[in-house]
Amino acid sequence: MKELRVQPIKNGTVIDHIPAGMALKVLHILGIPHKGAESIVSVAMNVRSKIMGKKDIVKVEDRELEPKEVDKIALIAPRATINIIRDYEVVEKHRVKLPKEVIGILKCPNPTCISNSNEPIESRFIVINDNPPRLRCYYCEREPDDIASRII
C-alpha cells in the first residue's frame, strides 16, 4: 500500500483503475459532493499504474455502491475495480462489468426517440461492446457517441 498517502478508511469503497481524468465524473455519478455529508471522500488523480500508465482512484467512506451506480461507472471506466473495505481491509474486489442491457441510466441523444417522450418507460440500451463501451438505444437504435454526458 505504498501509494496510500491519505488517511485510510475504515469502511467504504475504493474505486480503482479509473481512466486518468475521469475521477470527477465518477464522483458526479455517486452524487458527490452531497450537501451535509460528512464522510471522507478522497480522490487521487494521475496515479502511476502498471497496466494503465496513469489512473485515477476514488475512495468513499461509509458507502457501498448500488448496482445501478456500478453500471454507470462501468460505462465511463470499463476497467475499474470496486474494492469493498471493512475494518480497514479489502474484503471484496471485483471488476465492473456491463450487463447485456442498461436500463434507466442514460438519456437517448435522439430528441424524437419515443423514450424521450412522456411514456411510462425507462430508457433502454443494448450493450454492443464493453470496452470501449458502445450502446444502442433499444427503441430508436441510435448509438450515443458521448456516453459520459448522457448519463442521467
Binding site: I114, S117, E119, I121, Y138, C140, E141
Partner: protein
C-alpha cells in the same frame, strides 16, 4: 420458422429464410388480391389501424389486405395527434387498441414507437413506419418486387437514388439488399448521402457499396433503379434544390442510357423525380410495386394471425 403472434418491427428481426418465406407466401395471394378468389382465412379477426401521421397508401393497403382475407378493421387517423393533446400516452392508446383487436398496425412520428407498442400489447404489432426508423412491410414489398421481376437479388446491380440520408425506406432496403448479396450503388447529392452507419452495416454483410453523385454513370449497368423523393425543404437554397432535382430526373433520355430490362422502382408518392412519360415504358414497375404491397401485407397478416389455409 415461427410467425404466429410475432411483432413485425424491423426487417433486421428476420433472417433471409424468413424473408423468403414471407415472399413465397405473398405470391400465393395474387388471385385473392386481384379479387378473383375470395378468402375468409381471417374471418372474425379485427385489425386496429393506428395512424398518427399522414399516410394514405400504407393505411389503405393494410386495410385492403385485412378485408381481402375476410377480417375487419377498426381505426384512428389522428394526424393532429389529438390524443396527444389530451395527454394520452401512446402506451395507453395501444393498450386500448390491444383490448379491442387481434393485431395492431401503427404509424407514428417518433422512432421506436412500434417497439414501445409491442411491449404494451399482448397481440402482435406491425410497424407501418416510425419516424425516421423502420417500415418493414415497405422493405418486404420492395424485395418482393425485385424478386418477382428479376427472379433473383444476388449479383444484381442495384442503384438507390435520391434522399439517402433522411429517406425512411432506403436504410432498411440497403441493409436487406446487402443481406441478399446485391451490388449496391448509392447516388445522392453530397448533403443527402447514405449515413455512415448504414454503409458500415452493408459492408459487415459482405457488400461493397459504391457512392457517387453522378447518376448517368451509375445507371449504365444497373438492373434496378430505386428512386426516392428529394424534399425541397432539405435545401436552404432553392437554386441548389433545382439543380439537384433536374440532374436526378428520370426521363426517357436518361433511360436511353440504361439496360433495356432495367426496372425503375419508387415507393410513391412521386413528384417530379420520374417523368410521367416513363410510366408507359416496360421499365416502370412502381405501380405494380404498390399492388405488391397488398400481397406482402396479406402474407404477414396471415402468418402472424395463423390464418386457416384451405
Amino acid at each position: 420458422m415461427e410467425f404466429r403472434n410475432r411483432d413485425i418491427i424491423s426487417i433486421k428481426d428476420f433472417s433471409k429464410e424468413e424473408i423468403l418465406h414471407i415472399i413465397k407466401t405473398a405470391k400465393k395471394f395474387i388471385p385473392f388480391a386481384e379479387g378473383k378468389k375470395y378468402s375468409d382465412a381471417l374471418r372474425g379477426k379485427i385489425l386496429s389501424s393506428l395512424f398518427f401521421e399522414p399516410s394514405t397508401r400504407t393505411r389503405l393497403s393494410f386495410e385492403s389486405a385485412m378485408h381481402r382475407l375476410g377480417g375487419s378493421v377498426i381505426g384512428v387517423v389522428e394526424t393532429t395527434t389529438s390524443s396527444v393533446k389530451k395527454g394520452e400516452t401512446l402506451s395507453d392508446t395501444v393498450r386500448m387498441a390491444d383490448a379491442y383487436s387481434d393485431v395492431i398496425v401503427l404509424r407514428h412520428s417518433q422512432e421506436g414507437a412500434a417497439r414501445l407498442a409491442a411491449e404494451f400489447a399482448e397481440h402482435p404489432v406491425i410497424n407501418a413506419g416510425d419516424g425516421a426508423g423502420h417500415h418493414p412491410t415497405q422493405c418486404l414489398l420492395d424485395l418482393f418486387t425485385i424478386l418477382n421481376e428479376k427472379k433473383r437479388i444476388e449479383g444484381l446491380n442495384i442503384v438507390l437514388l435520391g434522399d439517402l440520408k433522411y429517406g425512411r425506406t432506403v436504410h432498411s432496403l440497403a441493409y436487406a439488399l446487402a443481406l441478399f448479396g446485391a451490388n449496391l450503388t448509392f447516388v445522392s447529392p453530397k448533403t443527402l448521402e447514405m449515413p455512415k452507419e448504414v454503409v458500415k452495416e452493408c459492408k459487415n454483410l459482405g457488400a461493397k457499396p459504391k457512392s457517387t453523385t453522378v447518376l448517368e454513370k451509375a445507371i449504365k449497368d444497373a438492373d434496378v433503379l430505386y428512386v426516392t423523393r428529394i424534399q425541397k425543404e432539405r435545401f436552404p437554397d432553392p437554386e441548389e434544390y433545382n439543380k439537384v432535382a433536374s440532374s436526378y430526373r428520370v426521363d426517357l433520355s436518361l433511360l436511353s442510357k440504361a439496360k433495356r430490362n432495367m426496372i425503375v422502382m419508387h415507393p410513391l408518392p412521386r413528384v417530379t423525380e420520374i417523368a410521367p412519360e416513363v410510366d408507359k415504358t416496360p421499365h416502370a414497375v412502381y405501380f405494380k410495386q404498390a399492388f405488391n404491397g397488398i400481397l406482402v401485407r396479406m402474407a404477414i397478416l396471415h402468418l402472424i394471425l395463423g390464418g386457416k389455409t384451405r
